[in-house]
């Protein structure tokens, strides 16, 4: 069973519906005691990094997520949820993240390219992962103005080119993230959600 972590940031309607279409069992909660029952977690998120971290801390969820990740439960951060997995962000001043992966969240450099990075971009797969099998050169839907500068290149499982190399799928051990919205990324995105769900299911057996 997947637990979708609800901390008041962003729209989880679409991701819920995508899981329902794939018949993946899930529940939504913002309470540690309830979430604890899950076999794996989705950390969604749209909005500002600082607000998101404040909300997570206020609900006691920041430490909870770190503990659960350390205990080996699969975790998938989506969009802002992926950025929160890293050490810190420069969005609206410096804010500390969850620190589960090494790196910083920076503003996409303005220049010839428009910010936000909005639209369909092609995935370049760097490190083989069960999440990305057969997805080389597939497209995903991105909407974001900040990107992750990962410290450990091996955690960047796939990237997309947008002036800078934008990490698109990250992961180490049982902690994963997608910068794009898998639930809005047609076949490729749904495949990633499905594979993550299967990983959660395997862990529960």
């Amino acid at each position: 069973m997947i637990g979708i972590i609800d901390y008041g940031m962003g729209n989880i309607f679409s991701v819920r519906k995508a899981l329902e279409r794939m018949e993946v069992p899930y529940f939504v909660s913002g309470l540690r005691d309830e979430l604890k029952e899950a076999d794996g977690y989705l950390l969604p998120g749209v909005g500002a990094f600082r607000d998101a971290m404040q909300n997570l801390h206020a609900a006691g969820l920041a430490d909870f997520i770190k503990d659960e990740a350390a205990a080996g439960k699969p975790l998938l951060g989506i969009c802002l949820g992926m950025q929160l997995l890293f050490d810190e962000s420069e969005e609206n001043g410096r804010t500390k993240g969850l620190g589960l992966l090494k790196g910083k969240v920076l503003r996409i450099p303005e220049g010839k390219l428009k910010v936000p990075h909005m639209g369909w971009n092609q995935l370049q797969v760097h490190n083989g992962s069960f999440l990305l099998e057969d997805l080389e050169k597939q497209y995903a839907y991105f909407v974001h103005s900040y990107y992750v500068k990962a410290e450990e290149q091996e955690t960047v499982l796939a990237s997309a080119g947008y002036g800078v190399d934008v990490p698109a799928v990250v992961g180490r051990g049982n902690v994963f993230g997608t910068q794009f919205h898998p639930e809005k990324s047609s076949a490729a995105g749904l495949a990633i959600l499905k594979r993550f769900s299967e990983k959660v299911k395997e862990g529960s057996e």
Partner: protein
């Protein structure tokens, strides 16, 4: 590199798609959800629903349509038409739309853009601009109320103002070209695309695949929207995309 987007637009009235849609193979060509799925399968990059309901009941029905569409669709979609307040935006976005588009209400009260962008993030707020060339102005003039009322704004100035206030995207319709099917208004599109830092969706005038090519190259648009040529099957999303790929445009 990011791809150029092809966006079919559906007019929805009291929960039904109107303005001539010819899809014999669909069970119900007036059902927004079925049409949305059809375009998704054809390779549409995004969809726009324009709610043209006149009644309060029609607006409520639209929320149900948005919910059903969001439940079935794995591509982003925008809802516009009659969005007057932050409450309207909330209702549409909570029902599962990815973006809302504002037009007349934003011109009457530009603060609506700032409010929406602050609350939901810029990426959720699209500003739709209807513009028409104006000899006296020597430029393109912005209109409200579905093109019925002229404003004092030049299109390029209003686009910049909307971006300053936090809009994440501009949906630019040429009233001169709309429905004429002889191509997008390239000069207008290029002016706006060059003036703002957010993506610009060209709209109005699509008649064939090559018109999209012109919008992306000469017009420098990031996306292009069309309605009737897709609904009447004069061409298809797939055909347009194949043609663009053949001409070297970066397309999904």
């Amino acid at each position: 590199m990011i791809t150029k987007r092809i966006i079919p637009c559906l007019d929805v009235k009291e929960g039904r798609v109107v303005k001539g849609v010819q899809f014999v193979e669909l069970r119900d060509a007036g059902d927004p959800v079925e049409l949305a799925k059809f375009y998704d399968e054809e390779g549409a990059d995004e969809l726009v629903f324009l709610d043209i309901s006149a009644s309060h009941e029609g607006r409520k029905t639209m929320i149900e349509v948005v919910e059903q569409t969001a439940a079935e669709l794995a591509i982003p979609f925008t809802v516009g038409g009659g969005i007057n307040s932050l409450e309207d935006m909330k209702a549409i976005l909570r029902a599962g739309a990815d973006k809302v588009s504002v037009n007349t209400a934003a011109l009457l009260n530009p603060h609506l853009i700032s409010e929406g962008a602050l609350y939901f993030g810029s990426q959720c707020i699209v500003t739709a601009i209807d513009a028409k060339y104006d000899e006296a102005l020597g430029s393109y003039r912005v209109y409200t109320h579905g093109g019925r009322k002229p404003t004092e704004w030049k299109a390029v100035d209003w686009a910049k103002e909307a971006v300053k206030r936090g809009t994440g995207e501009i949906l630019l319709t040429s009233m001169d070209q709309d429905g004429a099917k002889n191509g997008f208004e390239l000069e207008l599109t290029r002016q706006i695309s060059e003036a703002v830092s957010v993506p610009v969706i060209a709209s109005g005038g699509a008649g064939n695949a090559d018109h999209f090519y012109d919008a992306f190259t000469e017009g420098k648009a990031d996306a292009a929207l069309a309605a009737s040529i897709f609904h009447y099957k004069e061409t298809s999303v797939k055909e347009v995309k194949d043609r663009l790929k053949g001409r070297g445009v970066n397309i999904r």
